[in-house]
């Protein structure tokens, strides 16, 4: 029997297979090959170009690629590029969404300045809104402890964004300045940080439940 797919033995496929299995060098090589193509196709509207550059998007995209590669399931020859492009487009969309909303006053989405147990509860509720995780019975102190633990498991930039913007309630301009990042990049980092927190909190509810 002959195979008709033609990709099973290619070096590209081998790299993808190794990357999915956790070979970081293989993934690094793949990103170096495909990243520039993905960046070239990113379309950033003129009105956002002074607060968001393609490089901002690719920074977060690469980090996400390292974090998500375990769940990547190649199903066709160009699957890796398509997968990476989806991550990049997702990041770009979240950045623009954040920038658009930044133009409007949105007190409701923010927690008060200063970190309190309530800040954690509110962040937790906000995260629950974007995942299917029901809040269930949540005690303030448990929430705080859990979120702190979850944030500690994030990449540094994600953690810093959440701490400064969500928990300490600092203005976006201050967060950008402190992190030396563009506003678009901060919004992107925050969106991805929230995704990761949702995942971690999902598993954390295991720990929750035993105490509830």
């Amino acid at each position: 029997m002959s195979t008709s797919q033609g990709q099973s033995d290619s070096p590209q496929h081998d790299l993808v297979r190794r990357a999915v299995q956790g070979d970081i060098d293989a993934l690094t090589e793949l990103l170096a090959t495909h990243g520039p193509q993905v960046e070239a196709k990113l379309k950033i509207g003129r009105q956002w170009r002074n607060v968001l550059e393609p490089g901002d998007v690719m920074q977060v995209t690469y980090l996400e690629a390292f974090m998500q590669i375990g769940s990547f399931r190649p199903d066709r020859a160009d699957a890796f590029t398509a997968w990476l492009r989806r991550i990049a487009e997702n990041n770009l969309r979240d950045a623009i969404r954040g920038l658009e909303r930044q133009k409007q006053p949105q007190p409701c989405r923010r927690v008060e300045a200063g970190v309190t147990a309530d800040s954690f509860v509110c962040l937790y509720e906000h995260l629950a809104a974007t995942s299917a995780t029901p809040s269930r019975i949540v005690a303030k102190e448990d929430t705080k402890r859990l979120l702190e633990a979850a944030i500690a498991g994030l990449p540094d930039d994600y953690a810093a964004t959440v701490r400064m913007y969500d928990l300490e309630g600092r203005p976006i301009a201050e967060v950008c300045k402190t992190m030396n990042r563009s506003a678009g990049a901060v919004h992107m980092l925050r969106a991805r940080a929230h995704d990761r927190l949702c995942e971690l909190l999902g598993s954390a509810s295991n720990w929750f439940g035993s105490r509830a």
């Binding site: 990243g35 490089g55 007190p107 029901p134 809040s135 303030k140 598993s203 720990w207």
Partner: protein, 859 residues
């Protein structure tokens, strides 16, 4: 830290920095004991709480929540992607967790709706409770709306679909209690799907076992979407309007990008806002450019939308839409440019809205409007004069009241007289005489009660029900529909009488095979009765039980079973175990179980019901006779033909005497008897009986009724079995055509008819039509848990014979391979030990379908 942004050239630096952050986060094991890693970590370690579930190949963990773990998996038999929710603690789960999990399963089983994630199967594997759901690949509501850049109207249309799905749950007594964008996914086809009923409350007796909120900060639900009654912790106040409130918050956010009040900050402030803060109008908080139209222009919200959103967010439940259905209807009105209910109070608003809708007509009518306004001035003067005559009018009113009271007395008397028409109370009186009396009564109502709509409505209802009782369905429909129209005009949509007639019509439509109409009528009756009388009022339970029967008739026995069990539990608790309504529920449940091939359970229930019913209702009560007939069907199904025949012959005689020879119930008994005779092998006698029953059914039900189709199908099988294939073909075609026009496309009876016609075509060597039909049947049967092994085997045999015969006529490799495949498949499916499991419908009488194909020797 990453290098400074701004350079897109040095990808190597960016990748290296990303890698460094990733490795740093991975190395840092800063999580407390028991805090598991993220999804991919766990996946890479290959850890699953449950190693395997038979029939499914687990791909990955999707989500881990407080109650369960959800996996993406492949159903090996169909290769379709599904989601499996496994009880988190696995075999170590406590009783309370298991009960809660089972409750969620039961709730989902009731909710077969295209916009609610559907349950496919349930079970226990190695002590782990699990259920299988549709896999939804999609984004949350808001994320989808933003990503697709939906304009306001598209958002509203999508939101309406969500409301309708929530309303569907409400009609079944289910309150979600945790509605939020994250629990509403939009699939790749743009269809919303509601998820996670883990916190749902059933209004059927299940007290809100989890409090809503406590002073220590405990809370059930999701705070930003919570209603005032939720956060105040009064479980008794949680009802459908709680979900309406959450929908309102979602709609507010979907349109404005903000919450209606501050939901961040100290817990005390947030709770205070939810309970007290009056939300600003959405149009006042939307900045320019929040949502853009298709042309890229920013859209603005108007006062109608403000009114709709704010009506959902009333602090007092009475001020909100009472159901999600009302909300959906108002949004649809808005989309159609009609006046919205939320602003109904203002007459000028309604006039203005109508003028806006009909600009051209409005211009023409402007002169008329002036006349109307002038007339209003005149009316005002006349009203002032009328005030002076008020005292005289009061006296006149008193006289009118007396007359009305007298009319009501007369109406009651007439109703009492007419109620004798019901065979349930009339025993074995002559039914022709009853019909004459009813015809006369109907004609007199027309002439004599024209000026008294309330009385006319009431009498027409009685006449309609009486016609229904003697099987005169078209006349019954005419009377009940007119009664409904009069009640609606004289009282309101929410009047108990109006709802009562709606319920009656639901059942009548079911008998007539008008299933979508029946479902709509039942759902409206449930909606109204739940709000007006409460979820466990006897009348509400009757409507819910009726809905279950309609669902069963539409080919959803699983859903019907779940609903019937809820009604049975409520009736046993509130009315007692021997109440006639409770016995009806038991009978209905037995039929569900029979359809689900749980024959032993069904038989045990029916024998118990017969014993109690003959004591409580009497042996000639139509419902008692119905239960006996259902037992006969089970006996026939399990091959106890002699016993079945004896019961049926007795039953036919009794029904002929009590109900009349052409009553649909009598015909059901006769049809079941004909099928028993067929199974006993006396084909000529069976054929004669079937032809008679079909003729009678055509006269009574009309030719397009599914029951007629079922009997024609069985007759076609008899004709085919005696070798008259040209005679059988038109019968099969007619049966299929009726199914196509009167049943949902997925109904199994349609599949059976197709299979019968395919077998006939095969024998007539019309291979290509046979193949086309068989492929359609295959699609219909695939993954359907209600299709038993017998029908799968019949399908396999038909395929095997098709390809085998075609190969004999024109040998080719493809047909040879297909023949071998289907032969193997047919052998794998052990031959049935009993007759096919397409159990007849309730009371059901109708014959069990016969075998569509005989297995040939190997090709």
């Amino acid at each position: 830290m990453f290098p400074d942004s701004g350079s897109s050239k040095n990808h190597a630096d960016l990748i290296a920095a990303a890698r460094q952050q990733f490795e740093s986060a991975r190395r840092a094991d800063r999580r407390p004991a028991g805090f598991e890693g993220g999804t991919s970590d766990r996946l890479n370690r290959g850890e699953h709480p449950v190693d395997a579930i038979r029939g499914y190949e687990i791909l990955r963990e999707i989500h881990r929540g407080g109650q369960g773990v959800v996996y993406q998996a492949i159903q090996t038999s169909t290769r379709r992607t599904v989601a499996i929710k496994v009880l988190r603690e696995g075999p170590f789960a406590g009783e309370q967790d298991r009960n809660r999990f089972e409750r969620e399963t039961a709730i989902l089983a009731q909710l077969s709706h295209p916009h609610i994630v559907g349950i496919i199967d349930r079970g226990v594997e190695s002590g782990c409770y699990y259920f299988i759901m549709d896999f939804v690949d999609g984004a949350s509501l808001e994320r989808y709306a933003d990503a697709e850049n939906l304009d306001i109207r598209s958002r509203l249309r999508l939101f309406t679909e969500v409301c309708e799905a929530v309303n569907f749950a409400h009609l079944r007594g289910i309150i979600h209690r945790d509605l939020k964008p994250g629990n509403i996914l939009i699939d790749t086809n743009g269809r919303p799907r509601i998820l996670d009923f883990g916190l749902a409350k059933s209004t059927d007796g299940e007290a809100a076992s989890f409090g809503s909120q406590t002073l220590t900060g405990q809370f059930v639900g999701s705070l930003p979407w919570a209603s005032p009654e939720q956060v105040q912790g009064d479980a008794a106040q949680i009802d459908t309007r709680t979900d309406v409130y959450s929908l309102g918050i979602m709609l507010y956010h979907l349109l404005t990008g903000t919450f209606p009040y501050r939901v961040a900050g100290s817990m005390r402030d947030v709770l205070d806002n939810i309970v007290r803060a009056e939300p600003p109008a959405p149009s006042s908080v939307v900045g320019r450019g929040a949502i853009t139209s298709g042309s890229g222009r920013p859209e603005r919200l108007d006062r109608d939308l403000d009114a709709i959103v704010l009506k959902c967010l009333g602090k007092d439940r009475e001020g909100r839409y009472q159901t999600a259905g009302e909300l959906a209807r108002d949004i649809r009105r808005y989309l159609a440019g009609e006046p919205v209910e939320a602003r109904r109070q203002g007459t000028w608003y309604v006039v203005g809205k109508s003028l806006k809708r009909h600009r051209v007509a409005a211009a023409v009518s402007a002169g008329f409007l002036v006349l109307v306004l002038a007339a209003s001035v005149v009316s005002l003067a006349l009203w002032r004069m009328a005030v002076r005559e008020r005292d005289e009018a009061v006296a006149a009113q008193r006289r009118a009241d007396l007359e009305a009271a007298k009319s009501i007395q007369i109406a009651r008397f007439a109703q009492d007289m007419l109620s004798g028409i019901d065979p349930a109370t009339a025993g074995d009186l002559d039914k022709r005489l009853m019909r004459l009396v009813l015809d006369d009564a109907a004609a007199r109502v027309e002439r004599e009660l024209a000026g008294q709509p309330a009385v006319e409505a009431s009498i027409r209802r009685t006449i309609g029900l009486s016609y229904q009782a003697i099987g005169e369905w078209p006349s019954a429909a005419r009377q009940l529909e007119k009664s409904l129209e009069l009640f609606r005009a004289a009282a309101s949509e929410m009047d108990p009488e109006t709802l009562g007639v709606l319920n009656d019509l639901g059942m009548l439509y079911k008998e007539q095979g008008r299933l979508p109409d029946a479902q709509a009528a039942c759902e409206k009756a449930i909606e109204g009765r739940t709000l007006l009388l409460g979820p466990e009022h006897r009348d509400t339970l009757i409507s819910r039980s009726n809905l279950a029967e309609v669902l069963k008739e539409q080919g959803n026995p699983l859903e019907a079973e779940a609903l019937n069990r809820i009604v049975l539990e409520a009736r046993t608790r509130t009315l007692g175990p021997e109440h006639p309504d409770t016995l009806t529920s038991l009978n209905n449940l037995a039929i569900d179980l029979q359809m689900l091939q749980r024959t032993d359970e069904a038989e045990a229930i029916l024998r118990k019901v017969i014993e109690v019913e003959s004591r409580v209702k009497g042996p000639t009560h139509p419902e008692s006779m119905r239960t006996v007939n259902n037992l006969a069907i089970i006996l026939q199904y399990t091959g106890r033909l002699e016993e079945a025949e004896n019961i049926l012959r007795e039953g036919v005689a009794l029904r002929e005497r009590v109900l009349g020879k052409d009553h649909p119930d009598t015909l059901r008994s006769l049809g079941t008897l004909a099928e028993t005779i067929r199974r006993k092998g006396d084909l000529p006698e069976a054929e004669k009986m079937f032809r008679h029953v079909i003729d009678e059914y055509r006269r009574v039900l009309g030719s397009a009724h599914p029951t007629v189709a079922l009997h024609i199908y069985t007759l076609a099988n008899i004709v085919a079995t005696r070798g008259d294939l040209p005679g059988a073909e038109p019968l099969f075609r007619e049966a299929l055509e009726i199914c196509r026009t009167s049943l949902p496309p997925s109904h199994l009876q349609t599949g059976h008819s197709k299979l019968g016609l395919a077998a006939c075509m095969l024998k007539l060597k019309k291979f290509s039509e046979a193949e086309e039909l068989l492929l359609e049947v295959q699609k219909l049967f695939e993954g359907n848990p209600e299709v038993d092994r017998y029908w799968h085997q019949s399908l396999a045999v038909c395929f095997m014979n098709l390809y085998g015969d075609r190969y004999k006529e024109s040998p080719n490799n493809a047909d040879a391979e297909k023949t071998a495949y289907w032969r193997e498949r047919a052998i794998q499916l052990t031959p049935p030990t009993s007759q096919p499991a397409s159990a007849p419908a309730s009371d059901a009488g109708a014959p069990c379908s016969s075998a569509p194909a005989q297995q040939k020797s190997t090709a």
